[in-house]
């Protein structure tokens, strides 16, 4: 949606936070960000969201309708918060695939889950959301939590998710969105651009990655735009739920 193409011969550009970069460089730049924050990703999530990210993820799981024996794909699964819960829900007869494009995040997630004894029904796959390496009609549920805004071609990623879902399967997109309340929006802006980079500097010694986080959230499609993107991709019964006054929204679509 936000991709820009300059001329016939120049390489198309896309946004990376507030700046434009050639499309071929975005994935590498995003990888650098997550490589930098991977070790303290969970701690930073707790600090920056005040623990709210756990509740947002809980609600996403409640919406998933996943049951014993299901096959679930968690894209941009990071440190495995959702995958661990899904592993419990699908049981030994089900399967969970934790996929992430970033090797560092995947390693942290894999180590963390194995340390917690989450094993047996879970697989770890390094994969690009735009070109998912799975057969058609394979999963009962696909989730992507706080990952879609980092994808270069969001339309391609949503189409890829549709392809790997079984008919009747659900896609859940948990992502930062646009606050519905003006007062909250102002407070959130101040928080994002003043506190988040400062916390990043203090905890991970990397303020730039958290400046990118704040900027990438502003560049991400709002609730209605993302909903229409999912409808255009072919999803049916697309709905979204705002959480914490719209700071975060979870979109759900069913594959017809």
């Amino acid at each position: 949606m936000n991709d820009q193409r300059k001329g016939d011969h120049a390489e198309p550009t896309t946004h990376f936070g507030y700046s434009d970069v050639p499309e071929s460089q975005k994935a590498r730049k995003v990888a650098e960000v997550f490589h930098s924050v991977a070790a303290k990703y969970d701690l930073m999530n707790d600090v920056l969201s005040g623990g709210m990210h756990r509740l947002w993820k809980r609600f996403t799981i409640e919406l998933s309708g996943v049951r014993s024996g299901n096959r679930v794909l968690d894209i941009a699964g990071g440190t495995g918060d959702l995958a661990a819960k899904f592993s419990r829900l699908v049981g030994p007869t089900g399967q969970v695939v934790l996929a992430d494009i970033n090797e560092s995040m995947l390693k942290v997630g894999r180590d963390r889950l194995l340390d917690r004894g989450v094993a047996g029904n879970i697989e770890f796959v390094q994969a690009d959301a735009e070109k998912l390496p799975f057969p058609d009609n394979h999963f009962d549920c696909v989730t992507i939590a706080f990952g879609l805004r980092n994808v270069t071609h969001k339309d391609a990623a949503i189409s890829s998710m549709l392809r790997v879902l079984k008919p009747g399967g659900r896609l859940l997109v948990l992502e930062f969105s646009k606050p519905t309340n003006k007062l909250m929006s102002r407070a959130y802006d101040a928080y994002s651009f003043a506190f988040m980079p400062l916390a990043g500097k203090l905890i991970t010694n990397d303020s730039e990655s958290y400046r990118y986080l704040a900027e990438s959230i502003r560049m991400h499609p709002d609730q209605e735009t993302l909903k229409s993107m999912m409808v255009e991709a072919g999803f049916d019964r697309v709905t979204y739920h705002n959480m914490t006054s719209g700071i975060v929204a979870v979109h759900r679509g069913i594959k017809p």
Partner: protein, 207 residues
């Protein structure tokens, strides 16, 4: 979000307690895959319970299949949690149960028969020596409190029955009841005797 936060905290605390009983989690594993909905009427609140080998998962919203739904006012739910005879509570007219009731009763049974190894949990924080000393002290205090309460109860009942004569003692009351019973039987015998005599008098008059 508020309910989700409360449920997350309750779930965390409950699972810590469940881990203190070595038999609770294997018993919950038998209920894996079951979804139990508790629908409280007053106040209106619906909570879903998903047991598995790691404990319980609580959810305020669930889109998947529900195997058992219990619908009752909060007072009846509390009674169900505490009562020994759960069948009597489940048969109350305000309580509605749909689906697989065995799953619900099994879950309640696991929660009611917990035998918590709190000393092990404490030893993880304080170490074995301090835990042993503290546990011995706590056990002594608990026994002292229990015995103290029993003695107080006995002394109070003796004072009320024997010294202040406010209440009648149990044995005294039993003796009085037994005398009353004997008196009642004697009166009945006397009545029967009078009846027989009057019948024989009537018979001789007619002759």
């Amino acid at each position: 979000m508020l309910l989700a936060g409360v449920l997350a905290s309750v779930e965390h605390g409950l699972n810590r307690v469940l881990r203190m009983d070595s038999t609770a989690l294997p018993r919950l594993a038998a209920l894996e895959g079951k979804v139990i909905a508790i629908d409280c009427v007053q106040p209106a609140l619906r909570v879903y319970i998903l047991p598995d080998e790691d404990g319980l998962m609580l959810a305020g919203h669930w889109e998947g299949d529900v195997h058992c739904t219990l619908r009752a006012p909060a007072s009846h739910l509390a009674r169900l949690a505490l009562a020994r005879d759960k069948t009597a509570v489940l048969h109350a007219p305000q309580v509605q149960l749909h689906g697989d009731s065995a799953a619900l009763l099994d879950l309640v049974g696991v929660l009611q028969n917990l035998e918590l190894d709190w000393e092990y949990e404490l030893s993880r924080w304080l170490g074995p020596v301090a835990t042993s000393l503290l546990a011995g002290h706590l056990r002594l205090r608990a026994r002292w409190t229990r015995e103290g309460l029993a003695r107080f109860s006995q002394n109070l009942s003796e004072y009320l029955a024997e010294e202040s004569r406010t209440l009648v003692g149990k044995r005294e009351a039993e003796a009085a009841f037994s005398e009353l019973d004997a008196l009642k039987v004697d009166i009945e015998r006397l009545e029967a005797r009078i009846r027989r005599l009057s019948q024989s008098l009537d018979a001789s008059d007619n002759a």
